[in-house]
């Protein structure tokens, strides 16, 4: 399947997408080698109740890469992340302006079907947010919502994603137990599985490891790495070491006069070894931030 030039639509037919396209591979193109950027933001600004939070961000994110957003708190990283699946719609008084495209899709256009958008753009939050019902229902709910009712399909999709996140052996005997009984790390992996079960093109991660203990954190991080090449991953992290370990590209944000800005965007190697901006250099060396 040739993804490269085509897919102007992000809404494939349900049969093909219902979580079941074996959810595997996109083709084995090398990560980041796709010449057409997956996500293009141009002059993207975000304001809350008229107060500017992020100003004029312009960047291009590549298919299959892991892009890490780093920078001090309050510099608009999370705002940027949430604008990608238009969760910003849910925040009262939040205004997003500028251009934001995902392939050909104009994300910010009022006519965009946000439910389909969010279906193809998964998101994981800082704290695990399992729903207060069983593990099975946590995974089935999004699939059912998007039109998959077949029990065998549901079961196979569930098993695949749980194996993908390494949770299958831990929970296969208690799929009907409340998800909230799982440990924090398990819950976060379940959230990851829940996002992956919809076979997203893009995965947004908002400090997915910061609420976890180091061991669980490591497991989740390893999982994210396995997604390289399959899903476009954008991860907000405060952990520079982590960004260096897993990031293909790094976007460095900084807050000037209370307004977040993108200072520098480049490959991880460039950012960490030859930062172009003095703020970046100071931040990565631990001098500031």
């Amino acid at each position: 399947m040739d993804v490269v030039q085509s897919t102007p639509r992000i809404i494939p037919d349900p049969e093909e997408r219902s979580g079941l396209r074996a959810w595997l591979p996109y083709p084995s193109t090398e990560p980041c080698s796709d010449p057409v950027p997956h996500i293009r933001a141009k002059n993207l600004s975000i304001a809350y109740q008229g107060h500017q939070a992020l100003r004029n961000v312009t960047l291009e994110i590549h298919r299959g890469c892991i892009t890490a957003l780093v920078g001090p708190s309050g510099c608009g990283k999370t705002s940027f992340l949430t604008s990608l699946n238009r969760l910003t719609d849910l925040i009262p008084g939040c205004q997003v302006s500028g251009n934001l495209h995902m392939h050909e899709l104009d994300v910010l256009a009022p006519t965009t079907d946000v439910l389909q958008l969010r279906r193809t753009v998964g998101m994981i939050f800082q704290k695990p947010t399992v729903f207060p019902f069983s593990i099975r229902k946590n995974l089935e709910l999004p699939l059912r919502e998007h039109g998959t009712y077949d029990r065998t399909l549901l079961a196979s999709a569930m098993e695949k994603v749980l194996q993908q996140v390494g949770l299958w052996d831990e929970v296969k005997d208690r799929l009907d137990h409340p998800a909230q009984a799982l440990s924090g790390g398990q819950q976060q992996r379940l959230c990851l599985a829940r996002a992956l079960v919809l076979a997203p093109d893009v995965l947004l991660l908002d400090e997915p490891c910061s609420a976890l203990d180091p061991l669980s954190s490591g497991i989740v991080e390893d999982l994210i790495v396995t997604l390289r090449g399959y899903v476009t991953v954008i991860i907000v992290t405060h952990n520079l070491a982590q960004a260096r370990r897993i990031g293909d590209h790094i976007a460095f944000f900084w807050s000037c006069d209370g307004v977040g800005q993108l200072i520098e965007y480049d490959t991880a190697q460039a950012i960490f070894e030859t930062p172009a901006h003095e703020l970046t250099a100071a931040y990565i060396s631990g001098a500031r931030g």
Partner: protein, 295 residues
């Protein structure tokens, strides 16, 4: 340049239906007050127009047959019964909340709280009935006939203690534990801890409880109707029978006609205004109380 518009989250049919039906329901619920008030005004309009507000205070007495509509005796009855009940129940309610928090052993404290919650659930007609068959004869033996302002005060007291106690209990529970620890660390006795630390920090909560109790006492109908004797007169002592505004409505509504009926609606309107004032004061206080961060 395009900017994203809020709340065009989905054009699904279900969402459209749901969002408009909840809007409609909310509109109906919000409009209910307007409906109640407008109906009360509509029904009391004949009296306000034909009789005029002044006559409710300057007529010789309450005697609808003779077209005489003085409400003052009943207003006094209502106010005195309420005031008496508050004077008794406020200290009792607050002290028993303190008892629950600082004096009672844990098991007793839980049981006591449970008891007060049950007391709060007892219907007013049961209070009235009990007052009628137990309390009134006791007072009657002392000073006949027994149906009196005193009986009303005692029954109302019993009815509003739970309100005051439960609100006081909740606001004492909100006192930061650090206050209590640091006061104890300073060697405060239990008494002075309560008097100098707990009461001042929960002032607003206690006052809110008293206001809510006040509103309940003002609006109470059945219990006072059953134990107060319902004679229209300004009481000169505790053993005089009285009639409250609420009891007057309950008693006469069933056969009131024309201006008489409208006059009862006027007293309902009056009552509602009074109670609403108190409740909104209490609500305002309560919100303020919860929004001030405990520092």
């Amino acid at each position: 340049m395009i900017s994203s518009l809020n709340n065009i989250s989905s054009r699904s049919k279900g969402d459209f239906l749901l969002s408009w039906s909840v809007r409609l329901l909310a509109l109906m619920a919000g409009g209910l007050l307007l409906l109640v008030v407008s109906f009360l005004i509509h029904e009391s309009w004949p009296a306000l127009r034909d009789i005029g507000l002044a006559r409710f205070f300057h007529d010789p007495d309450w005697s609808p047959i003779d077209e005489s509509y003085r409400l003052t005796a009943m207003i006094w009855g209502t106010l005195l019964a309420t005031a008496g009940a508050i004077l008794l129940s406020a200290p009792l309610g607050i002290l028993s909340a303190i008892f629950c928090h600082f004096y009672a052993p844990p098991l007793l404290s839980r049981g006591y709280r449970r008891m007060v919650e049950l007391l709060a659930g007892i219907p007013s007609v049961v209070f009235g009935f009990w007052g009628l068959v137990v309390l009134v004869p006791i007072i009657g033996r002392w000073h006949p006939p027994g149906t009196s302002l005193l009986a009303g005060i005692l029954i109302l007291t019993l009815m509003i203690i739970p309100t005051i106690m439960l609100v006081a209990h909740a606001s004492i529970a909100h006192v930061p534990i650090a206050y209590i620890h640091s006061a104890s660390a300073l060697g405060f006795s239990r008494g002075s801890l309560i008097w100098h630390v707990v009461i001042p920090t929960t002032k607003v909560g206690l006052f809110t409880g008293i206001l809510l109790g006040l509103a309940r006492a003002l609006g109470e109908t059945m219990a006072v109707l059953m134990v107060c004797g319902n004679v229209v007169q300004t009481p000169s002592h505790l053993f005089d029978p009285i009639r409250t505004l609420t009891a007057n409505i309950a008693l006469e509504m069933s056969y009131a006609l024309a201006d008489h009926r409208a006059a009862l609606f006027v007293s309902g309107l009056l009552l509602m205004g009074l109670v609403v004032l108190i409740v909104s004061l209490a609500e305002g206080l309560r919100h303020r109380n919860f929004h001030v961060p405990a520092k």
